[in-house]
Symmetry: C2
Subunit: 165 residues, 2 copies
């Protein structure tokens, strides 16, 4: 490795894998480790962009789900399904949005045992302002190009769908 | 959408983005949301595979870094740099590995103020056994194919490297 090349821990891990374990699992290890690292990088960048509204990316995603729902409200269970997160995480996320005055909890009209989260006007305002910033910053994906981004979406789709079953 | 197609929340979000915000940021939103979801799916699958050793994927990554280090030990700061994680997270991860008897903390020979994490024989054993399982399961990446995995590694590399600067 030339001295002026930045040290790349995952490229180094790939070399270790190839020499110690054969080449069979190296592409999987390299892809998984890259996804984990990129998720960390994106989360840090996105949370910084969302800080003016005290949103984190999970809160933003939950807020947008309500923003685009037909009635502005959804059962918590359905939100968990859509975001593929655990019921406890949904509860925590909605608690956070509620404390910020962005959503309220309401009862389901037909089934009073069911709890819905419902977006409030301040939540709609935050959703729109935050989305303008994220769109302008291309969701913090610099330096990836449009074709790279579409490739990521396309390639990961099969894995996402396999987890829905 | 035909009734027999599974509902895909990210495909639906892409449609919403295209119609409400124009097409400029849709590829970025789709890619970022896919990465976030896939990270959740992979973390759940990997943690299940690693459960026999009480490892999580972050603990496994830290353990492998020590496993492949020349002396079997590394300063905690260097581990944080390599894994691109916060010093507090390194401390928590090493605490976890120490409680399992996989690593110990030692003092740096030259600089007694510096703390190193050092892998123990039980840690080497766990690293090897866990790696055999992860390799056999291709790091839980089913149903992605080798070419998909290499594409992910290649495409994400530019973003990873931009964050090192």
């Amino acid at each position: 490795m030339p001295d002026d090349a930045p040290f790349d821990p995952i490229a180094e891990a790939r070399r270790q894998w190839n020499s110690h374990w054969g080449r069979v699992a190296t592409p999987a290890m390299g892809a998984v480790t890259s996804i984990m690292r990129v998720e960390q990088i994106l989360t840090a960048r996105l949370n910084a962009l969302l800080k003016p509204w005290e949103l984190t990316f999970p809160r933003y995603e939950a807020l947008m789900l309500l923003y685009y729902s037909r009635r502005g409200s959804l059962p918590l269970g359905k939100m968990g399904d859509r975001l593929q997160i655990h019921p406890t995480s949904v509860t925590n996320t909605i608690d956070g949005l509620q404390n910020l005055g962005y959503v309220e909890r309401i009862q389901h009209e037909q089934d009073r045992r069911k709890r819905l989260a419902s977006i409030l006007p301040a939540g709609r305002e935050a959703a729109e302002r935050a989305t303008e910033v994220l769109n302008r910053e291309r969701f913090a994906t610099t330096p990836l190009r449009e074709q790279d981004l579409e490739t990521i979406y396309d390639v990961l789709q099969a894995l996402r769908r396999s987890a829905d079953a």
